[in-house]
Structures are given as C-alpha cells and as structure tokens.
C-alpha cells in the first residue's frame, strides 16, 4: 500500500502545485486526502490540534519579530552607511570595491534576514557605482545576486526558523551553526573576486579610490550600529541570556531605536513596517499550517520510515545519498521557492539523514545552502528577477554571471559534508 500512497501523494502535490494552487492549500489537500484514503483516522480532530499546536507557539513568534526587525532596518540609511564604511577598507584589495558587495550583503543580511531586501537595497547603491567606475558587469552582478542570498545562511534566518520548527531542533543552535559556513562562503566569494580580478587584464583601467588611514578609522562609526546589533542579537542567544524569540524582540527594539536616531521613522513608516510584517508572516504561516498537517499525514502513513528504509536497502553509501538529495534539491530549486522546499522535503529526508548518523542541525545548514542556490537558479530564482530591476541586463546574462557562485555554493555544501565539524563546533559549545 505504501508505494501506492507515495505515488498518489507525489502526483497530487505536483498536480495541485502545477495548477497554481497556493502551496499551503496544496499541502493541506494532499495531507487530508492521503489520511482519508489510506487511514481511518479522525482527520478533523487531528487537524484541529495540529493547527492550534503549530500556530500558538511562542517560539514561532521569533519569525514575525525578525521580519519586523528587517522591515524596520530597510527603512534606515544603513545600506548607504555600510557602503561608505566598508569602501575605505576594501578598495585596495584585488577586486577593489566589489568586495563591498559581498561584505555589505553579508552584514545587511545578517540583521535583516531578508534576501530580497538585501539584494535590492545594497544593489541600488553598489551597481550604479560599479558601472560608473568601470568594474566588470558579470562580476559585480554575479557577486551581488549570490551574496544577497547570504542572508538566509547568516543568522537570524527565516528558512532556519522554518527548518527548526519542521524538524523540531533548537533554533538557537541552528543560528549558531550558520555563522561559520556563512563567513566561509563570504570569504570564498571574496577569494573568487580577487582571483578573477587578478587575472583580468582590464584591471588597470579601473578607477580605484585612495583612502588614508585617517579616513579608514573615521569610517568605522558607520559600520558600528550594524555590528552592535549583530553582536547584541546573536550574543544574547549564544550566551543564553535570551531565547531566539527574545533576541528577535531585542532586535526590533534596536532597529526601531536606530530608525528613530537616524530620523527615518514616523508613524506611517512604522505602521507600513507592521503591515508588511503581517503579510510576510501570514504567507509563511499558511505554508506552515499546510506543512504541519502534511507532515503529520506522512508520519501516520509511515512514509518517511518507508522511504528511508528503501533508500538504505539499496546499499548506497552516505555520500552517494547526500549527492542524490542535493540533486533533488537542485531540481526542486528550479521549480519551487525555498520555504515550500523545506516544508515539503524535510519530513521525508530527515529520518533518512538521522539513519545515516548525520546531525539534524548539520542537515539544516546543508538545506539552507541549497535553498540559497534555489534563490538564484533559473528559471524561477527570485533573486535573478530582482536584479533585473536593478541593472540594465536581462535574466540570461544574470544567470550566466551567477553560475560560478552557484558552483562554489555546491562545492561548499559538499565540503560541509566531508567536514561536518565546520558547522557543528559552534552549536556544540553552547
């Protein structure tokens, strides 16, 4: 019966999603139909408690609060300040100001947690500046598109929160686990920029601004608010002073304070931020409600166990299975968004990962990197569309420009598989 159930679920899910039904609603239908067809369980009662238990959780409150923090910070002058503050330190590196793209995206993303806001806000400042100074379009656009996604790897991160809820693992530990890979990926992007720039013959024609040490030191206060906010939010979680939800509330408080100090906040803007938060939060919550029900249905049918046992029975090694999972995610990433990918696949793959002896926290970071890739993979990678609105190039050019960065991300994900301690040493110290 289980292979039939699996086939029906895959067909129903593919059919409803292709029809254009909302992801949360699709998951709900598939979960409900599977339970009604293949079991004699009281669906209504299960659904009632699934809904209540999965929405009325204080842990989940971290989600809208981090969204609100990001909404608030996007309204400040933070992105301009980051560019001004980082430029004097990056200008003399091979690749010059292109590194600002990477570092500013990483810092901005760390505090806003939003890929779209990061790419759009940083890109609006850096892309025209790079065009003016004669930097390679492919490198500047590729680095912006890819670095914008660092926001979901560097905590606080919404996909990590969703993964934590679906996989029922510590969100605080997940956040800590994202720090080293996030910095690692950032350094890898910078290294690539430096190498390509050193090999590029046109570099002599670049207009590289000169900064004195005095100017460099005077630029530091501009990076200070961002650095303080990151240290405060992540430090409070790491030291155990605050839970992720409390850290998110502190983040909202800090962001509001920054916005007031910089004169960027009035009642209308504040209310716009709140309304924006409600829209994003409810969008994610509808998916989560559907996903929780879908996951419970899969559990009652015993499908995750069946799939993991079937794959293990093939006798394939750990790395072969990880490679297979990566291919599945890369394929799904071309078709569906990151949140949906997490909620649909984690209940299926997590038992397999645990059976292989891998850590669920490690898998969370692995999945988040693959979600990052999904954000920049044609044809529906959202960041690609976003960047078309910032630069004069078409999606084909942007897809080509971002390809080396995708390759680096895939390589990095595999590196993490061979050296899981890169991910786990920080959360294990908590």
């Amino acid at each position: 019966m289980l292979p039939v159930a699996l086939g029906v679920i895959i067909l129903l899910l593919a059919g409803t999603l292709a029809l254009g039904l909302w992801v949360g609603v699709s998951l709900f239908y598939v979960g409900g139909i599977s339970l009604m067809t293949f079991t004699s369980l009281p669906v209504e009662r299960i659904l009632g408690s699934v809904i209540w238990n999965n929405t009325s959780s204080s842990t989940l409150m971290a989600l809208p609060l981090f969204i609100m923090m990001g909404e608030m910070l996007v309204k400040t002058r933070l992105s301009e300040d980051l560019f001004d503050g980082l430029s004097p330190w990056m200008a003399r590196l091979p690749g010059g100001l292109l590194h600002v793209n990477v570092v500013a995206c990483a810092l901005f993303a760390a505090i806003t947690g939003s890929v779209n806001a990061t790419t759009a806000t940083v890109g609006k400042i850096t892309i025209p500046e790079f065009e003016k100074r004669g930097y390679s379009d492919a490198l500047s656009i590729g680095s912006l598109t890819a670095s914008g996604t660092l926001g979901i790897l560097i905590p606080p991160s919404m996909p990590m929160l969703i993964y934590g809820v679906v996989a029922q693992v510590s969100i605080g530990k997940l956040f800590m686990a994202g720090i080293v890979p996030g910095i690692g990926l950032m350094l890898l992007f910078s290294l690539y920029i430096a190498v390509v720039s050193l090999l590029d013959r046109k570099k002599e024609s670049l207009e590289v601004p000169h900064f004195t040490w005095g100017q460099r030191l005077r630029s530091l206060p501009k990076i200070l608010p961002v650095a303080a906010l990151i240290v405060f939010v992540l430090g409070s979680i790491y030291t155990g002073w605050a839970t992720p939800t409390e850290a998110a509330a502190i983040g909202v408080f800090g962001a509001t304070f920054l916005a007031i100090v910089t004169g960027c906040l009035n009642w209308k803007i504040f209310w716009d931020c709140v309304k924006g938060t409600v829209r994003t939060n409810c969008m994610i919550m509808l998916i989560l409600i559907g996903a929780s029900f879908f996951s419970v249905a899969l559990g009652f049918l015993g499908l995750p166990k069946y799939i993991s046992q079937s794959i293990l029975a093939l006798g394939a090694g750990k790395y072969a299975i990880i490679a297979l999972i990566t291919l599945v995610y890369l394929f799904l990433g071309c078709l569906i968004d990151g949140y949906s990918m997490i909620v649909m696949t984690v209940p299926i793959f997590l038992p397999l990962i645990t059976a292989l002896g891998l850590d669920p926290i490690w898998f969370g970071i692995f999945v988040v990197i693959l979600v990052q890739i999904a954000n920049i993979t044609p044809p529906i990678g959202f960041n690609l569309f976003l960047v078309t609105g910032i630069c004069k190039h078409k999606i084909g050019f942007i897809s080509k420009a971002v390809f080396p960065f995708i390759a680096m991300m895939v390589a990095f994900a595999f590196l993490m598989t061979f050296f899981p301690k890169v991910v786990l040493f920080l959360p294990n110290m908590m």
Binding site: T16, L17, A18, L19, G20, L21, W22, V23, G24, V25, F28, Y29, G32, E44, L47, G48, S49, I51, W52, T55, S56, S57, S58, L60, M61, P64, L65, M68, A242, T245, E246, A249, I250, V252, F253, W271, V274, K275, T277, V278, R279, T280, N281, C282, M283, M285, L286, I287, I289, L335, I336, D337, Y339, S340, I380
Partner: protein, 166 residues
C-alpha cells in the same frame, strides 16, 4: 455587490491591523519580561504563554489581509500559458479559488468545532494564568471566515477583470 466587496475587504484590512497590533503587543511584552528579569530578577509568568496565543491570533487574523495583497505563495507556471490559452488559465485560476474556498470553509468548520469543544468544557491552560483556551481560540474561525470571503472576492474580481478584457 461592489459595495459589499469593498466593505468586506475593509473588514479584512482591519483584521490585518489587529494582527499587526498583536505582534507589537507581543514585542512589548517580551521586552518588558527581559527588563523585569534583568533589573528586578523577577518574572511576569504569563509572557511565554500569551506570546503563543498572540502568535496564533495574529497568524489567523492576518491570513485574509495577506490574500488581499496576493502575498500567499503559489507556483506561477500556469501564468506562462496565459497568452496562448487564456480560457484554460482562467478556468484553472477559478478552480484554484474554488478549491481555496473549500479549504477555508473546512478550516472554518474544524476551528469552530475546536473552539466550541474548549468553550463547553471550559478548558483552561495548564499555566499559572489558567486562561480559558476558548478566548484565544475564538479568533481562529474568525480568521478562516475572513479568508473565505477574501478568496470569494478575488474569484469575483477575476471574473470581472476577464469580462472587462473581453
């Protein structure tokens, strides 16, 4: 009809604003709890519990508001066919709205029964506050009803839009 639709949509906007207020209230409660804990070595006891209720209330009350702004995620493959097969795409979108309305109605029924069950048994939370669970649970069916109406409104708008185009 248009007047009724506008009226219902303004109710959904209002519910969205209440959802926003729930989030702001939660944030204030949490900050107060941190301050109380850090400066007075004390606790309010109820913050974790009430933050959970506010999260549930906010998530359901804002569903219709998010739908009004087309914020809920759907795959848009079918939209690529809109130029070649406009009628097929229109039918598919209408079917999606009908399925979504059935979903919202079913959710309305489930959450209403859930609320009613807590109400007649006077179920209370296991926390210090012993809150009547029916109070926060009452907002769940309200949010589902609002979502049903928003899907209905969007379905009607879709038909009107196509009529205008024709």
């Amino acid at each position: 009809m248009k007047k009724w639709m506008d009226y219902l949509e303004s109710v959904n906007v209002l519910l969205g604003q209440v959802a926003g207020l729930c989030l702001v209230t939660s944030c204030i409660l949490i900050i107060a709890e941190i301050a109380n804990r850090s400066f007075f070595n004390s606790t309010f006891y109820i913050v974790d519990e009430y933050t959970g209720y506010l999260m549930g209330i906010s998530s359901f009350l804002g569903l219709a508001y998010a739908e009004k702004h087309h914020s809920h995620i759907r795959m848009e493959f079918i939209d690529y066919l809109a130029k070649r097969f406009p009628l097929v795409v229109r039918l598919a979108k209408s079917l999606c709205y009908i399925l979504a309305m059935i979903f919202a109605l079913y959710l309305l029924m489930v959450t209403s029964k859930f609320f009613y069950g807590s109400f007649i048994t006077r179920q209370r939370s296991y926390q210090v506050s012993e809150t009547l669970l029916a109070i926060p649970q009452a907002f769940l069916p309200l949010g589902c009803l609002a979502l049903f109406f928003q899907y209905l409104i969007n379905l009607i708008k879709l038909q009107w839009k196509d009529e205008v185009r024709a």
